[in-house]
């Protein structure tokens, strides 16, 4: 083998996968416009995310949440992901699509599932609380409180959980005057309260926003052909 053949081979070995597996899909996915407008309610999909949610997204990465939690509902030929959601929600959620992650820097598809999938925790958690309390409408403040307590000490909610406690995202402080509105409903000693830091607030806001079930256009294969419409 000549050195010239070797270098050409290397170029093919590194270049071809990069072109076909990376560059072409990168270009196509980045350029595709999947914006949809539901005119009946005046809602545009995918919904724009607030800056504070973006901050929460960064906390999610910093704390390494992606090491244990995925954010994708896989197809039914290789998983029961949609049915797991069905058992929680009463109706299955659809499989995840690229447009579900628009507006995010990086799709946290996950490394493995030591904990449950979080792709739709923004829908499932209120539903859980609704089922547990029997109320008709769930107050977002209750959902927020649940997440805060769960982050502070997961064993308070599920004694079997092996999720770490994120106590460093909270501040334990002496109550001065009235108890803070944002204080957690947990007992940490007489005269003391636990309040979330801005990082905890951002992370919980981000978690509450997670919903990868927005209406989207049909997959290309299902689009009706022009002849049929005619």
């Amino acid at each position: 083998m000549s050195v010239r053949t070797f270098y050409l081979g290397l170029l093919a070995a590194f270049g071809l996968p990069w072109v076909f597996l990376v560059a072409v899909p990168y270009g196509e996915m980045t350029a595709s416009d999947v914006t949809m407008v539901d005119e009946s309610i005046g809602q545009t999909y995918p919904q724009t995310k607030a800056g504070f949610i973006e901050y929460g997204n960064r906390i999610y990465a910093s704390e390494g949440c992606f090491q244990c939690h995925s954010q994708m509902v896989r197809t039914t030929d290789v998983s029961v992901d949609p049915y797991r959601y069905e058992s929680e929600l009463g109706s299955p959620v659809r499989e995840s699509r690229p447009e579900d992650y628009l507006g995010e820097d990086y799709a946290f598809l996950g490394v493995q599932r030591i904990g449950p999938d979080l792709a739709n925790i923004g829908i499932t958690k209120p539903r859980d609380i609704k089922k547990a309390t029997g109320v008709d409408t769930v107050d977002p403040a209750d959902v927020r409180q649940w997440h805060m307590e769960h982050l502070f000490d997961p064993r308070l909610i599920n004694e079997w959980s092996n999720m770490p406690s994120y106590q460093h995202l909270f501040e334990k402080r002496r109550i001065q005057g009235q108890k803070s509105d944002s204080a957690l409903n947990i007992n940490v000693g007489e005269g003391y309260e636990v309040v979330p830091t801005e990082r905890a607030e951002a992370l919980v806001t981000y978690l509450m926003s997670l919903k990868k079930n927005d209406p989207t256009g049909p997959p290309k294969a299902e689009e009706p052909a022009e002849d049929d419409e005619a």
């Binding site: 070797f6 998983s79 820097d105 990086y106 799709a107 599920n158 092996n162």
Partner: protein
């Protein structure tokens, strides 16, 4: 003096010159690899313990699972993996090209920068700055420092390839040069397309997985194979069984390796053809792995009993077997029927463990056992210490692989239990965390003793005898195996 013995002497002199010239950079990389390996194992133990007893470190943010696990993998890949690879590549390239290293201070200084960059990166990860990309968790500012250090080291390894004056290029050189180009060819596009000009978020995740697959099969595996193809003929005193099979396995590995990685996202939000191609390429990697093992086994042929005595040969041969096992694992986990159970579980990570520990680590130790005596001027102190290192490491890796894969099956199986809470999944995998813990402990014990032996050699506390340290006393029946051309015995 005959002309053949004169040329032997001049070759021995040249080898001694080469060893002297590469001494400091190679020692830096091997000792750094030893340090990072122990650090990575300890971080792996902390992260596994965190899964078993999550409240143990509840007061300490930097020891929470998410951060420690990221620190563990980056220490393993960039600390242990790259440092060991740099040491192997620099020594092998100069030996194969028969050229002493010029200005060894450059890779020596670049190596310090590399280690400073990853230390800073890991401290940032533990401190709560994490990019969120698997194997690329370092804050993005660390990227340029890594790349510049790498280029300096790689240039110094590449220069002898361009200046060599050999009629034929040995097959190990193809693997080494390919590996040298692989890292920038993977890292640079990943950094640009994920951090500098990010595209669709899903594509960033896909690029991340492509990068991991590429690093495993285009960087770590080629370096391991180059080492096996160099040391097995060298120590056994027999030429490589088939040069053509070696070249064939090279092209099969290199042409397939770049397509791997995305198979872990089968069923995910990517076009199905992308994950299908990756799955197929991963499965086909069994072919070059088999070629490499056959070539290694056939090279040993009737001298295979030498594996009993030579540390280098034993570790190198184990690496070639490990490669077959790793690619079978990789192939198996891409089958839809298996992926249904192992997808998004720790089972999918077993391939990474198999390549990094079962293949690359074994090949690296094989190289270290050969190279260090030549750099330090003394021999390993005891064969029993090397046997201890080999067996404890082997048991640890088997234990870890079994725990990752079997635990992954049960973890995946439990997700099919649709009624009830996540407790079912947590409980199903818990016994395998205990097994993983045991695996890390075994690996720590084995390699703590290895690192002590390594430092003893560096301080000149090895045996002063002129013959290599063998793992066993030579059995009477095996005496004819130790012919003069066997490199370990002649100390070439």
């Amino acid at each position: 003096m005959s002309s053949s013995s004169a040329s032997e002497n001049s070759l021995a002199l040249l080898r001694a010159n080469i060893d002297r010239s590469v001494r400091w950079p190679v020692l830096l990389f091997f000792t750094s690899a030893g340090f990072w390996f122990l650090a990575s194992i300890i971080l792996g133990m902390i992260s596994t313990w965190g899964l078993l007893s999550p409240d143990t470190f509840s007061g300490c943010a930097m020891l929470q699972y998410g951060r420690v696990q990221s620190a563990h993998t980056t220490a393993l890949v960039y600390g242990f993996g790259f440092n060991l690879a740099f040491g192997m590549i620099l020594w092998l390239m100069h030996r194969l090209c028969r050229l002493p290293m010029k200005a060894p201070a450059v890779p020596f200084i670049a190596g310090h920068f590399w280690n400073i960059a990853i230390s800073v990166g890991i401290l940032f990860i533990l401190g709560g700055v994490n990019s969120g990309l698997e194997w690329l968790e370092f804050p993005k500012q660390v990227g340029p420092a890594l790349l510049i250090s790498y280029i300096a080291i790689a240039l110094w390894a590449f220069v002898p390839f361009t200046q060599r004056d050999q009629p034929q290029t040995y097959v190990s050189l193809w693997f080494l040069v390919a590996a040298l180009f692989a890292f920038p060819a993977l890292y640079l596009p990943t950094q640009i397309m994920v951090h500098i000009v990010p595209g669709a978020a899903v594509m960033s995740a896909a690029i991340n997985h492509w990068y991991i697959g590429g690093l495993l099969f285009l960087f770590f595996t080629p370096v391991a194979v180059a080492s096996v193809f160099y040391f097995v003929p060298k120590v056994s005193g027999r030429p490589l069984f088939s040069f053509s099979l070696g070249v064939l396995s090279f092209w099969a590995l290199i042409l397939l390796g770049g397509w791997t990685g995305l198979q872990r996202l089968i069923g995910g939000p990517l076009p199905a053809w992308m994950t299908a191609i990756s799955g197929t390429a991963t499965f086909l990697l069994i072919i070059p792995a088999l070629f490499i093992w056959i070539n290694t086994r056939a090279t040993l042929a009737e001298r295979s009993r030498l594996v009993t005595y030579s540390a280098t040969l034993r570790f190198s041969y184990a690496a070639s077997i490990g490669l077959v096992i790793a690619t079978v694992f990789g192939g198996l986990t891409t089958f839809p029927s298996v992926f249904k159970l192992t997808g998004m579980t720790q089972g999918a990570l077993s391939v990474q463990i198999a390549i990094m520990l079962g293949v690359f680590m074994f090949a690296g130790f094989g190289a270290i056992y050969f190279i260090i005596p030549r750099l330090c001027g003394c021999e390993w102190r005891s064969g029993s210490a090397i046997r201890f290192h080999f067996w404890f490491t082997t048991y640890a890796v088997i234990m870890l692989l079994a725990m990752y894969l079997v635990g992954g099956f049960w973890q995946g199986d439990a997700t099919y239990e649709l009624e009830g809470t996540w407790k079912v999944v947590s409980d199903s995998v818990r016994p395998y965390y205990i097994g993983r813990m045991l695996g890390w402990v075994l690996l720590l014990i084995a390699n703590f003793s290895f690192v002590i032996n390594l430092w003893a050699m560096i301080f000149g506390r090895g045996r002063k005898a002129g013959t290599a340290t063998l793992l066993h006393e030579v059995d009477g029946m095996d005496k004819d195996l130790f012919v003069p051309e066997s490199a370990e015995t002649s100390k070439a």
